[in-house]
Amino acid sequence: MAVDSSIIEAVPISRAIAQRHPAANILRTVLFRIGSAIFVLWGAVTITFIVLTILPGDRATILLNITSGQTIARTLEELAPINAMYGFDQPILTQYIHYVGALLQGDLGTSFELQRSVANIIGEQIAPTFTLAASALLLAWIFAVPWTLFTAGRGRRIGAFGSATETIMAGLPQYWIGILLLIIFAIGLRWFPVIGGTSFMNTVLPTVTLAIPLAGFLGQSIRSEFDRTMREPFVLSARARGMSGAGVRARHVLRHALIPGITLSGWAIGHLLSGTVLVETVFARPGLGAILVNAVSNKDFALVSGCVILNSFLYVVINLVLDTIYLVVDPRLRGAA
């Protein structure tokens, strides 16, 4: 693990600099975070590779059966050219080095079923999925912030009502919310199209579906921090200076309360991308979800692992960016690596 040792070596030197320069302190922390992000990514790739290699059933057999649409045992003569073409006959370590090397060049392999580059397939399908995930996150924030602002720290009864609503929202399965919205607003009221697509009208219901449970989770985390911050002395002092209750909530308390919400958003993006799998199926919406479900049921491991690696890559990168933003925004974190 070359990554780790280089960080350890870098630490004492930069610590000496950091005592005089706070900016260097931030830089050291950021470098450390980048190091651990690379480590997590490397681990995710390696685990995916191990899963791919140890899978029950011979990969060449699966490949032949997918492309021919049959499920039969294959003879060695049939398998030999496939094994040679994909390099399955090489030692595991050689395969691993090839796999990682190709990944570093953005090559996610070739789909077993479609016989096309996985990167291209994902590239074609990612736009509607990404639109859906991003707009769901935005909408969840639009739901959660006013809701918390109006119900948190306003006595036990309102707080209990607010938090009960959040618990129910967070606990609802995405696919059932989707079905409910589809039946009420598309089939019953005919406000939205029933047949899936990627236009604006087709995106509204899937977005709301994904946003509801996420708003529940966001609300829960913002609320507990909001309640905690309301008891801080600086809130009392702001009130004593004559600031209005609403002003204190919006200007001081909310700012603190948003921090756990932002952390949760980083986590949420990884989960939203996989949550779209279910929602895209409900609404018959084109995107990565349909591709992934099909790949899983056909044992198209190249495509499945491509989606998995892409998801963990986005997850790691987004969290790295968020962590870095914190360091800039929140001075309290600068000391701790």
């Binding site: 029950p56 089939i187 029933v194 989960h271 991308l273 479900v293 989606c307 998995v308 998801n311």
Partner: protein, 289 residues
């Protein structure tokens, strides 16, 4: 809280169990009733069902909810209410089994990451960190792809998919207990690590998990039914709830009940288990404080 409840609490401080029973909030009572209903449905479905789960009746296909068929019928006239009741056992068993798989894996990994010597604990901890970069559904999908769709692979996949999160929780809890005063005291008294682990660390690290297990069963039912809904779990002739949802997809424009009610069963189970789980967690925290 009513006056009576307050009185009971103050007068029976010598009997904490009685206090706990009397002061249970109504939402928990409701959740317990829901869980009881589905437990009966899982153990003796014939008591609750009104029809057979598999007998077809083509003359009354796709009838909306009515007195004869409480929740309507499907495209070949099978009674939906009875199918949901008969599907309870499969759905709950998969949820329970997945939680058992997750708990077994998470206990081993969590304890190892917290208590093993550094050269073992550190790599385990790192692997957990890596696995957490995979969303639960994606990890479960990866295992379904490997094992092929079936009830058993569903159970294993959902269990393994939820393992890393629980393992981190157990690790955090164990570290907290390990650093507590009573463990230090027991060590100072000369007890071996084995004794300390069995008598102090394991019971105290497990106590908060009781609530988590209840919570996790509900979530596992949601995940497993979701995978069946995607066509990657239990296949349609089975009345498992996710399979019911998948079967109803084809008729969604004409028979809303086929999608709403199986989903409602999943939601009721998930919410009830979550409520009870959180309540138990709060109780456990209150007791240790």
């Amino acid at each position: 809280m009513s006056e009576v409840a307050k009185d009971v609490r103050s007068s029976s401080s010598s009997n904490p169990l009685l206090t706990a029973i009397v002061t249970v909030p109504s939402s928990i009572v409701l959740s317990a009733l829901v869980v009881l209903f589905f437990l009966i449905a899982a153990i003796v479905p014939s008591v609750l069902s009104t029809h057979s789960a598999f007998d077809t009746d083509l003359l009354s296909s796709l009838t909306p909810p009515a007195a004869d068929h409480w929740l309507g019928t499907d495209e070949i006239g099978r009674d939906l209410y009875s199918r949901i009741v008969w599907g309870t056992r499969g759905s709950l068993l998969i949820g329970l089994g997945a939680m058992a798989v997750a708990l077994a894996g998470a206990t081993v990994l969590g304890f190892t990451a917290a208590l093993a010597p550094r050269w073992v604990a550190e790599p385990v901890n790192r692997i957990l960190e890596i696995l957490l970069a995979f969303p639960t559904l994606l990890l479960a999908l990866l295992f379904v792809a490997l094992l092929g769709p079936s009830a058993t692979s569903l159970l294993i996949s959902v269990g393994l998919g939820t393992t890393p999160g629980y393992a981190r929780l157990i690790r955090a809890q164990t570290l907290k207990v390990k650093q507590s005063g009573y463990v230090e005291a027991a060590r100072a008294l000369g007890h071996s690590w084995q004794t300390v682990f069995i008598q102090h660390i394991a019971p105290n690290a497990f106590r908060p998990l009781v609530g988590l297990v209840a919570l996790g069963i509900g979530q596992s039912v949601v995940w497993a039914s979701g995978l069946s809904f995607l066509g990657l779990g239990v296949a349609p002739p089975s009345p498992e709830w996710g399979a019911l949802l998948e079967a109803g997809k084809a008729n969604i424009t004409v028979a809303w009940w086929l999608e709403i009610f199986p989903g409602l069963a999943i939601v009721l189970v998930a919410l009830s288990f979550t409520q009870i789980g959180q309540y138990i967690q709060d109780l456990a925290e209150g007791n240790t404080r």
